[in-house]
Subunit: 315 residues, 2 copies
C-alpha cells in the first residue's frame, strides 16, 4: 500500500512507558530516536506533557513530563526531518505549562480525551494550536459509548479547528467490521479533516485493524517498536513499515534497534498477547483487571477470571 499522504507516528516511549512509569535510560530513548530517524518515520511521540504539580518525579521518569531540558539531552543536534510529539491528557496538564512552539523542540501535541470530555479536549487543543503546535485529538474508548453520544462528539469536533482526529480502539475490542464502520462514520462527520488510527493488540488485531484503517482511507498511523505498549501492546512498527511500500521508509534500522534494546527489555517488562488481556479485549473492558492478573505472582484461574468479568459487566 503506497499513498503519499500516509504518515507514521511511533509511540514506543509514550505507550511503552505506561508499563514502567517511563523509567527508561536516556540511552534507550536516544537509540529509538536515532533508529526512527534513519528509518524515515514521520513522528516520534516521546511521552506525555504533564504538569509536575500533579505527578512526582520520584515515581515517574522524565517522559511523563517531556521538559525541554530532557528532550534536548536526548535529541541532541541530529539533523532529522522526523518531528517530535507529546501527548496531553485532560486535567493532567495546566495550559500555562505548555511553552510557545518557538521555545520548544516539540512539533506536535496530541490531546487524548474521552467522548464525555470532548469539549475540554477541544479547548486544550485550540490552546496548543494557538501556541503554534500541530495538534490532534485522540478520542478514546469509543467502543463503549452510545452511538448518539459519539455522533455528538464528532459534530463538536467537526466545528473545531483541530485538523486531525484519531479513531482509537482503547480496549483492543474491535474487528475489521467495526473499524470500517467507524472510519466511515468519522469520515462523513469530519469533512476536510485528516483521520488517524491507534490500535491495541489484545486480540492480535492491532496490525490487521491498522491495515483496515488504511484501506478505509485513514492516513495517520500509530505503531510501536516490537509492539511495545501497555497490556497487550500496539501495532508493531516493523510490520507496518513492511506493509507500507513507500520508498521513504527503511526497515533495516528498525531490526537493529529491536535487537539491541527491545528484545532485551522484553525480558524485563511484560507486554504482548496473554489470555488475561485477550479476555478484557473480547469483553470490551479496560485492561486494568488483565494487568492486575498478569502482575500477580501466580496467574489466576483463567476460566474464573473470565466468568468473573462476565458477571461484572453491567447490562
Amino acid at each position: 500500500m503506497f499513498r503519499p499522504q500516509i504518515k507514521v507516528l511511533d509511540c514506543t516511549v509514550r505507550d511503552g512507558g505506561l508499563i514502567n512509569k517511563w523509567q527508561f535510560t536516556d540511552d534507550f530513548v536516544r537509540r529509538i530516536f536515532y533508529a526512527l530517524s534513519r528509518a524515515g518515520v514521520d513522528y516520534m511521540e516521546v511521552g506525555y506533557k504533564s504538569s509536575e504539580k500533579y505527578f512526582s518525579r520520584s515515581e515517574n521518569g522524565a517522559w511523563k513530563f517531556c521538559s525541554e531540558d530532557d528532550l534536548k539531552r536526548v535529541v541532541g543536534d541530529l539533523d532529522t526531518k522526523m518531528k517530535l510529539s507529546a501527548m496531553a491528557d485532560i486535567g493532567r496538564i495546566d495550559p500555562e505549562d505548555i511553552l510557545p512552539k518557538k521555545e520548544s523542540v516539540l512539533d506536535m501535541i496530541r490531546v487524548a480525551c474521552y467522548v464525555k470530555e470532548v469539549d475540554k479536549g477541544i479547548n486544550l487543543a485550540h490552546h496548543c494550536l494557538d501556541k503554534g503546535y500541530e495538534t490532534t485529538i485522540n478520542l478514546m474508548a469509543v467502543s463503549k459509548v452510545l452511538e448518539r453520544d459519539l455522533d455528538e462528539a464528532l459534530d463538536d469536533l467537526s466545528k473545531s479547528a483541530v485538523p486531525v482526529i484519531y479513531l482509537v480502539d482503547s480496549f483492543g475490542a474491535m474487528y475489521s467490521e467495526q473499524i470500517h464502520f467507524l472510519a466511515k462514520k468519522y469520515m462523513e462527520a469530519l469533512p476536510g479533516k485528516e483521520l488517524g488510527i491507534h490500535t491495541h493488540n489484545n486480540q492480535q488485531l492491532a496490525f490487521a485493524n491498522t491495515i483496515e484503517g488504511i484501506i478505509a482511507g485513514i492516513n495517520r498511523l500509530d505503531a510501536t517498536l516490537y509492539g511495545m505498549g501497555r497490556g497487550a501492546g500496539n501495532c508493531p512498527l516493523e510490520l507496518l513499515l513492511s506493509f507500507l511500500k513507500n520508498p521513504k521508509f527503511d526497515i533495516r534500522p528498525i531490526f537493529e534497534v529491536i535487537q539491541e534494546i527491545l528484545i532485551p527489555i522484553k525480558g524485563e517488562i511484560e507486554w504482548g498477547y496473554h489470555i488475561p488481556y485477550m479476555i478484557t479485549g473480547i469483553l470490551n473492558e479496560h485492561p486494568r483487571s488483565g494487568m492486575k492478573a498478569m502482575s500477580a505472582e501466580k496467574l489466576p484461574d483463567l476460566r474464573k477470571f473470565y466468568e468473573g468479568l462476565l458477571e461484572g459487566t453491567p447490562d
Copy 2:
C-alpha cells in the same frame, strides 16, 4: 459472526507436533481431546497419517502415524459429536496403509499438496473417499505460484469429487486483500464445493485473515490452542471461538486447557511472533531459515538475516 454452516477444526497436535516431532504424552493429547469436545469444536486433527516404512518411531511420536491403537488409547469411549481428522502428505503414505473407514476411528483425511502435485493429491483424496472418509485437499504455498498454474490446479480440483478445498497461507505472507482476492477466485473456480482456510501467524495476521476468510464466505476454519504451531504458529482457537457467536461453542474449557497444558509447554517448546519468522513472512519465504535462526544458541544479526534473505530471493 454466526453462520450455521461454519465448522471449526483444531489442529494443535498435528501442526504443533511439527515443532517437537509429535513427542506429546498421551495425557497431553487426551486433555486436548476432552477440552475440544466440551467446547463444541467440530473436528480435531490428531496428527499425520504416514507409513512407518518412511519414518521411524524412534524419532517421531505416535501422532506422526495415527495408528488405530494409538488413537483408541487416547480417545477412549467418550461420547462426543466431535469428529477426528488426520492429514496425509503426498509420498509419505502408501494408500494401502489407509484402513477402510469402518475399521478406523478417524472420520476425515485431509490431503495436503502443492499446486504442482495436485493430480497426485486428487488421486489420494479419491482413494480416501472410496474408503469412506470425509476428505479435503489443502493446497499449500499458493502465495508463490504463478496465477495460471493456480488456475489450472483449481480447474482440476473443480472436476474432482473432493468436496472441500482449503486456501492455505503457508508462509504467513498474505494480507486481507490477498485473502479476499484468492477466496473469490477459489469460489468462482470451485462451484458447489465448500472452502476452508488455514493461516500462519508470521505477521500477526492469522486470526485477522481467518476473519476475512469468513467474511468472504469460507466456512471451514482451522485454528490451534493458544496459536501453537510450527514457527510463528496459527490462528488461536480461543480468539476464533470468541469471534464466532454460534451458541454451540463454549470457550470456558478452552481457557482451562490453555492454562493446564499450553502455557506450561510454551515454556519448553517455542512458537509465536519472533522477528526471524516475521522476516520470512514479509518476504513470502518458507519459514525454515527462521526456524534455524530461532533454534541457534544465539539469535543471528537480524538486519543481516533480512538482507541475506533479500539477496537470496530469486528474481
